[in-house]
Amino acid sequence: MAVLNRDKMVGLAEKAVSTALQKGAAEAEAYVYEGQATNVSIERGQISKSSRIIDRGIGIRAVVNKAVGFAYTNIIEDHDAVENTIQRALNAAKASKPDPDWKGLPEKKPYTRVKENFDAKISELHSEDLVKVAASMLESASSISKRVFPIEGGAGAVYLSSSIANSSGVESFDKGTMMECSLAVVAKDGSTVTPVCFEFNAERNCNVDPEWVGKEAGRLALSALKTKRIETKTTKLVLTQFALQELLYFTLINAVKADNVQRDQSPFKGKIGEKVAPENVTIHDDGLLPGGLRTWAFDGEGVPQQKTAIIEKGVLRNFLYDNYTAKKEGKQSTGNASRAGYLSTPSVEATNFHILPGTTSAEQLMAEVDDGLLIYYLQGAHSSNPVSGEFSVVATPAWKIKKGETVHSTRGVMLAGNIFEVLKNVSIIASNERKMGQLVAPWILVENVKVIGK
């Protein structure tokens, strides 16, 4: 199905805003969304499925007497359905309670041209092309060893676009693409089966590398076959992007959201300008990072995305704001309003959470570790205390490092601590940066983490 063009999307959004104002809204905003995804799936080691999902919708915020109402529908071609949705947003606002802190929708601001977030070739991909990508990934994994067994995965191509209009003059349209391939494998040797090892590659253009994904997943699983228990102790950890992504999403990223800071849910409250990490730690939230998986011209409210320094040389500099939390403090939004398509109202979220790389290569960083653990996959990070930053998670598999080399894997190791202490104990940041969801980071060496073996 052909995608909706700019004029059509913007037209829908603007019409909805003017209708809402006619019906009595003091302010109104419309968010029009389209997503088209084609996927090929691997299940139980074989390509056995292909799917195509087309999702369109409109979400409308109507403000009446400082109370916000929201309604959405996925029937956007039908004039009456959209009219009814606008009316429901108004009704919801009228049923709600005024919010004295509501200071209006965002005003229009110029957008920066974003780089490398759209590749026309992705829109032209068919399931046949994706079957080839998936097949190449499967063959690469199996080529590593007969002991490697692919389980599930797939390849996908996505086109996304959105348009936002509001009664304060915002009028916007942006489109982007994404392609990804992923594979989960285990290795088997006799009765030994490894835990699942997973790799993927996601890009905004169509240059994904299925062979690397297959081989790397296979290599990890194979190296997890030799496994030994480890003792309980305080040790050094090399955290890969997999581990960082899990840990930070549920702890550090929460602590820098203005919403949580304002609501006494962040230990960083009142600490702007203070040292919270060693000098080698610099973290930006960069909504404009070229090729970033969360790079867009504007956020979920039509505010330009930007680069915001969160931690610079160890010093806490800024929090992440959407329009509401910014206006509450008399500040400017940092362009961090996020939406789950047309189904939700905006909320504060990081864009590309970028831990700036150091100059040490991953190999050099490993060489610095006389005794420690290499951590990939974590279980249970979502059960961290999102307010205090305390975590108690399981790493499985993880790899024991001795004299700079991984010597065997280990299973079910528990790591316990507090993310803010971990941050203070970062000793080396490597240079091997990669993108993973909202995280852009290299490997990191941290000291003094409590590890509970068996």
Binding site: R52, I53, S127, S383, N385, G412
Partner: protein, 461 residues
């Protein structure tokens, strides 16, 4: 709607030679609220109409989803699905086949005492505000309270090429309440979740006052709690923690798709994997429970499925595809979150059967260990490694409850741990929750109090 779906299914069979076709249409209406410290962030309403089309051609699946009920769009989508299935079948070594399912013609209606779609938004805001007011009023150290509310009503229609035609009313009421407390640089966090498929009368049992106090009390008490010692300890688990353990640590392994994907249970059917006091069910037929429904999203009736009986694995949870692989009957566990996604194997209400111990008898046997009363989250790996994060815990010293402990978690290998369950309580509680497996499913889980001889406890002290 049924006639349109039947026509579309016919196109796939007649024009593309599909072996099997199903069309699932939904028209759903949602109300959502988020209140933060009593402020209504936004009162939200939504309509979602769409159709999911799934076909089996040459032994491979094709799937298309469209947000339209229009026959031309659906015909285009089903044709697309058939062509994609053909493409996907090009590398197939083991063609997919389905277990037989009885043809069903049925109309399922819900009869709530209080239908959420007939309750005014004002009333729902009042209920959420009352929860918030109770929580923040409980203790001045409780600084924040978020109340999320959702109700969903509507109809789902299912038609397949075998002649099954089902129309099913849907009804869910759900709320999650979180609170945090701060004192002297200590931050605590507490959450509670409630849900029902019966109706808005959920709040007559789980009154705003009751739930507000539960959440706030826990956040406040945790301020005085200490971190646990890491290491191997005996534990007594409360019904909520047993529920999440049964669901996460065992339940996912008993989902036949995961068992077939290298999970540890595939080779253990008929074998003893737990001590004799362990019996687990997954039951979709409990009236009003959050994980209950009459037919799953393949048109198979939900049932009460026995998973472990007296320590022996007797069954898994199946879709029609996996049931055929195991040569058993489908169990009615194929669920799809909405029309955008295809049905996959999901749990319903998963629980452990109670036995004969009192709570006192359970803790009496513990010299130095922990009582894990309430959980924050859990996760499992196919190799059987599980983790459960605990939000409310106490020490047990010489058979008596001691001081509160915060941010504990437990881990182990499921099959090893199940053998270490040495006593099972006589109480029982089923809780409501949501499970993520790419899609979100509404589920129930629970059980009695139990004692486990040893698990690894994660703690920083």
């Amino acid at each position: 709607m049924k006639d349109v779906l039947t026509k579309v299914a016919d196109v796939a069979v007649q024009r593309f030679g599909a072996e099997y076709v199903e069309a699932r249409a939904q028209s759903l209406y949602k109300t959502m609220l988020t209140l933060k410290e009593g402020r209504v962030e936004a009162a939200k309403q939504g309509i979602e109409n769409g159709v999911a089309l799934r076909v089996l051609v040459n032994g491979a699946w094709g799937f298309a989803s469209v947000g339209s009920l229009n026959i031309e769009s659906l015909t285009e989508a089903v044709s697309d699905a058939c062509r994609m299935a053909k493409t996907a079948s090009s590398k197939l070594t083991a063609p997919i086949k389905l277990a037989e399912a009885k043809t069903v013609k049925d109309r399922v209606s819900v009869k709530p005492e209080k239908n959420p779609s007939e309750i005014l938004m004002e009333e729902k805001i009042k209920t959420a505000s009352a929860i918030n007011k109770t929580a923040l009023g409980y203790d001045k150290r409780v600084k924040s309270c978020t109340v999320d509310y959702l109700d969903l009503t509507g109809t789902s229609s299912f038609v397949n090429s075998e002649g099954t035609v089902i129309e099913q009313d849907k009804l869910y009421v759900w709320s999650r309440i979180t609170a945090s407390a701060v004192s002297n640089g200590v931050f605590t966090f507490s959450r509670e979740e409630i849900g029902s498929t019966a109706g808005y009368e959920l709040f007559d049992k789980e009154t705003p006052e009751k739930i507000g106090i539960t959440v706030a009390k826990r956040a406040a008490e945790q301020l005085e709690a200490k971190p646990p010692k890491g290491g191997t300890f005996p534990v007594v688990l409360g019904p909520e923690v047993v529920g999440v353990f049964v669901h996460e640590a065992f339940g996912h392994l008993a989902e036949a798709d995961l068992a077939l994907s290298g999970g540890v249970l595939a080779g253990n059917i008929g074998k003893k994997v737990a001590s004799e006091v362990v019996t687990f069910y997954d039951d979709g037929t409990i009236s009003g429970a959050f994980g209950s429904f009459k037919y799953d999203d393949e048109g198979v009736p939900a049932q009460k499925t026995l998973l472990i009986k007296d320590g022996v694995v007797v069954g898994l949870m199946h879709s029609r595809e996996t049931a055929r692989k195991f040569n058993v009957a489908p169990t009615g566990n194929a669920r799809a979150e909405n029309f955008r996604v295809e049905p996959i194997i999901r749990m319903r209400n998963t629980f452990m059967e109670p036995k004969d111990h009192s709570f006192e008898e359970l803790i009496e046997g513990v010299k130095a260990g922990y009582y894990f009363k309430s959980f924050r989250g859990g996760q499992a790996n196919l190799d059987g490694t599980f983790q459960v994060g605990v939000q409310e815990a106490y020490e047990i010293i010489n058979g008596e409850l001691g001081e509160p402990v915060r941010n504990a978690s437990m881990s182990g290998n499921t099959l090893e741990t199940l053998f270490k369950v040495d006593a099972v309580g006589k109480d029982f509680k089923l809780s409501s929750g949501r499970c993520g497996k790419g899609q979100t499913a509404f589920i129930g889980d629970g059980g009695p109090h139990i004692r486990v001889k040893e698990v690894v406890v994660g703690g920083s002290a």
